[in-house]
Symmetry: C2
Subunit: 113 residues, 2 copies
DNA sequence: CCTACTGTTCGATTTGTATCGAACTGTTGG
DNA sequence: CCAACAGTTCGATACAAATCGAACAGTAGG
């Protein structure tokens, strides 16, 4: 039809992004892991990202990428037959100061048991 | 059966709260508004809180309170025949430093139009 | 070239969340 | 005490999101 692997995908401007959308995108453990990985390891291909969450089908993973992208948190740009995923840190920091750092520096809970 | 208006409600310890739960609780505009109001105006009765979101039925509002409470963000304590809702700011700040302040200080987007 | 590869999109199913009316219960004012 | 009040809980319905297989389309390596 129209779209394929290596197509230009729409990226919202951060000015147009609302906080609830960002918080929602980050509220899923798999997506949060991915953002953490991108923050730590810099731009990665989709396949490299996916290595973080093994056992997750490509379509599911791609859906998570879409959610993060539409929330303005990541870029997803074609590069040959792959795609490069980048955390939009500087832009997010300008739009929501201190938010990403707060999220990224948070530690896991020790369970209620 | 068991429960009524003025009953002791369970409040999780912040140690046992996970970040995704907090982010999810804050990702709803109505709940975010409520947290903002509590931050600005201090402890309020449920009825006072509800004045923020007029037209919302009590049961719906109560459900939002439950979500925020289970995420460790607010307390909801009996007081006579009313209830006092309190933002657990200090505890949340200790568990997730800078997170609440980042959320509270964020400004609305000017829409894509 | 043409085949294998990377990753998105589509469509269907399942799961979870939002919403709201109704029932219910401790509390207090008269 | 009894009636009115404040809010939670329950149950049903509607809506949104997660998940996954299959189909698809550029790209590049042989």
């Amino acid at each position: 039809m129209s779209n394929a692997t290596t197509r230009r995908l729409p990226h919202p401007e951060l000015k147009d992004v609302e906080l609830p959308a960002v918080l929602f995108a980050l509220s899923d453990p798999a997506r949060l892991d991915l953002v953490r990985q991108l923050a730590a390891q810099g731009p990665l291909t989709v396949a490299q990202c996916q290595a973080t969450e093994p056992g997750v089908p490509k379509s599911t993973f791609s859906h998570h990428l879409k959610t993060l992208r539409e929330a303005g948190l990541i870029r997803n740009d074609p590069a040959g037959r792959q795609r490069i995923v980048t955390l939009r840190k500087a832009e997010v920091d300008e739009r929501f100061p201190a938010l990403l750092d707060a999220v990224l520096s948070s530690s896991p809970a020790h369970p209620p048991e």
